[in-house]
């Protein structure tokens, strides 16, 4: 459970960690769009450099990022093989015996690989440098304008926060139930299909029952503390934009515009 790299928050003290979550979320969205602008080799080089600079400032270890990208490697390798076999346009790059590797195959795969890896790095940057709770606050703030068209932004944010708060508790509870049922002879490795189904039920049913009880208790606790969904409430944690946040937005949007212009020029 503790080795889950993708999405995990790394408590470090970096410039990126200190940024307002809204700035980071918006910058991430802009960068994701930028990645999909077909700006050619130079464009991707520029994006990669910018991102590497951000990674440097985030104090995240490269090994950590590589770990986050690992799940993609297999798929990308597979993709490369397929493309080499299928795409036969462009000029011949290398000839091995009777098998020809075409330039289009290589370059198209390369672009896809770069895009995906950059995506992973950017999203990992966001989740690794932003506490889940702050991320929720940022999302709530960004969604706030949509309240006017009926989006229950604050309630959604509340639900996400509570879910996040209970993740460690639920993990512990799952382990406890597994131990309790194992003590009654439940064995997920062996047994016929029917036995395996019973084994899984013996884990899921108690979890659900307990989750409902918990939800009931929580609802009562929230109600007596005066929580009314949809009602006005103040917020303890206030998000505030500083100069550095504006700079981040400026740079990311500037980059996007630059790439669009570059694409048009080309």
């Amino acid at each position: 459970m503790n080795n889950f790299t993708l999405g995990k928050y790394m408590p470090l003290d970096s410039a990126i960690h200190k940024l307002d979550p809204r700035a980071k979320i918006l910058a991430m969205l802009v960068m994701l769009i930028a990645i999909f602008i077909p700006s050619g080799f130079e464009g991707y080089l520029l994006i990669s450099v910018v991102i590497l600079v951000v990674v440097y400032f985030s104090k995240l270890k490269l090994s950590f990022l590589v770990k986050a990208m690992k799940p993609m490697f297999f798929m990308l390798g597979f993709l490369l093989v397929i493309n080499l076999l299928v795409i036969k346009t462009g000029y011949a790059l290398v000839t091995i015996g009777s098998f020809v590797i075409y330039s289009d195959a290589v370059f198209q795969t390369l672009y896809i690989v770069i895009r995906l890896l950059l995506m992973v790095i950017i999203t990992t940057l966001l989740t690794a440098t932003t506490k889940p709770f702050d991320l929720t606050l940022g999302l709530e703030s960004i969604m706030a304008p949509f309240k006017k068209i009926g989006l229950p932004a604050s309630e959604i944010a509340m639900m996400i926060s509570i879910a996040l708060r209970f993740i460690p508790t639920l993990i512990e509870e799952t382990q406890r139930i597994m131990q309790a049922q194992a003590s009654r002879g439940v064995d997920l490795q062996e047994g016929k299909i029917k036995e395996k189904i019973m084994a899984i039920l013996s884990l899921i049913v108690p979890l659900f029952v307990s989750a409902f009880q918990r939800a009931d208790d929580l609802a009562n606790a929230m109600e007596v503390k005066g929580y009314i969904p949809g009602a006005k409430r103040t917020r303890y944690k206030q998000l505030k934009f500083y100069l550095r946040d504006y700079i981040v937005l400026l740079v990311s949007n500037g980059l996007l515009i630059l790439l669009i212009v570059w694409m048009i020029i080309k």
Partner: protein, 275 residues
């Protein structure tokens, strides 16, 4: 002054479960009342009814003279706080700080004032050093203390403790019992504590005994704890000191029945000196 006035309260969970049966009682301002009774006797149901979490079938509930209705729930709840049994299932915030802030946010307290309030009340329950701790890293007793801080921060006149120590280890139990005691001694908050702990009962001002949905006895701890036979019949714990006093009396010792150990020891020392 009566802060809680309940008359002929009736509540059914369903047609077969008459959880609260014609219950009436009053609570005086600033008093410390304990409610005892077997599991299922209706104690927690009454707590929920007093906070409007359940809707009564009939009868009257008045808090500070105001009758509890669907319309004034919010107003009533700003005067009555509750600490539930399960430390996890009432801990809403991501950290201690956030949890205490939750109630303040709901009451639209000015954000700039929140830090001061959180500091003040976390200190009151000795959780100031843990303000940025997550609940998964806190003990049951610590979580309950945070719950108490959160309740106190809203300045209620009445606090209900619904078996707040049942799920805690001895250390946690002691911490919370101490907190409740201090609350009673240091403030004029009215306390209603649902408990199984006889020691706590002996320290309260009044006791309400429930059995199968009905109030079967009310009185001072002295009055209630002395009736050992009744308590046994009602499937409740008896006070050790009372049991011992009665045993000593049966063996020929002329001693007054004491409800707590300190009193008993003092009595016995007196008798020993006279000898």
């Amino acid at each position: 002054m009566k802060v809680i006035d309940v008359k002929n309260l009736d509540f059914y969970y369903d047609e077969n479960t008459h959880a609260v049966d014609n219950v009436s009682f009053t609570i005086e301002k600033g008093s410390y009342t304990t409610i005892i009774g077997h599991n299922g006797s209706g104690k927690s149901t009454i707590a929920k009814l007093l906070l409007g979490l359940l809707e009564k079938n009939s009868g009257e509930i008045k808090i500070n003279g105001l009758e509890l209705t669907l319309e004034n729930l919010d107003q009533i709840r700003s005067n009555v706080g509750i600490v539930f049994q399960n430390p996890d299932n009432q801990f809403i915030g991501a950290t201690v700080r956030d949890d205490i802030a939750f109630g303040l946010e709901n009451r639209c307290i000015e954000p700039s004032l929140m830090d001061g309030i959180i500091e003040e009340f976390s200190k009151k329950v000795n959780m100031y050093e843990y303000l940025d701790r997550e609940p998964s890293k806190l003990s049951g007793g610590q979580k309950q203390r945070v719950a108490i801080a959160g309740v106190l921060a809203m300045h209620p006149q009445i606090i209900i403790f619904d078996e707040a120590t049942s799920m805690l280890d001895p250390k946690g139990k002691a911490e919370i019992k101490q907190s409740i005691n201090n609350l009673h001694l240091d403030s004029d908050i009215t306390i209603l504590s649902i408990t199984h702990d006889i020691e706590e009962v002996s320290k309260s001002d009044n006791v309400i005994v429930m059995h199968e949905g009905k109030v079967v006895k009310t009185g001072t701890p002295d009055e209630i704890l002395m009736e050992t036979k009744t308590l046994v019949d009602l499937k409740l714990d008896t006070s050790f000191a009372v049991k011992t006093s009665q045993m000593l009396q049966a063996k020929g010792l002329n001693i007054a029945t004491k409800i707590d150990q300190e009193g008993l020891v003092a009595e016995l020392c007196q008798l020993n000196l006279k000898k």
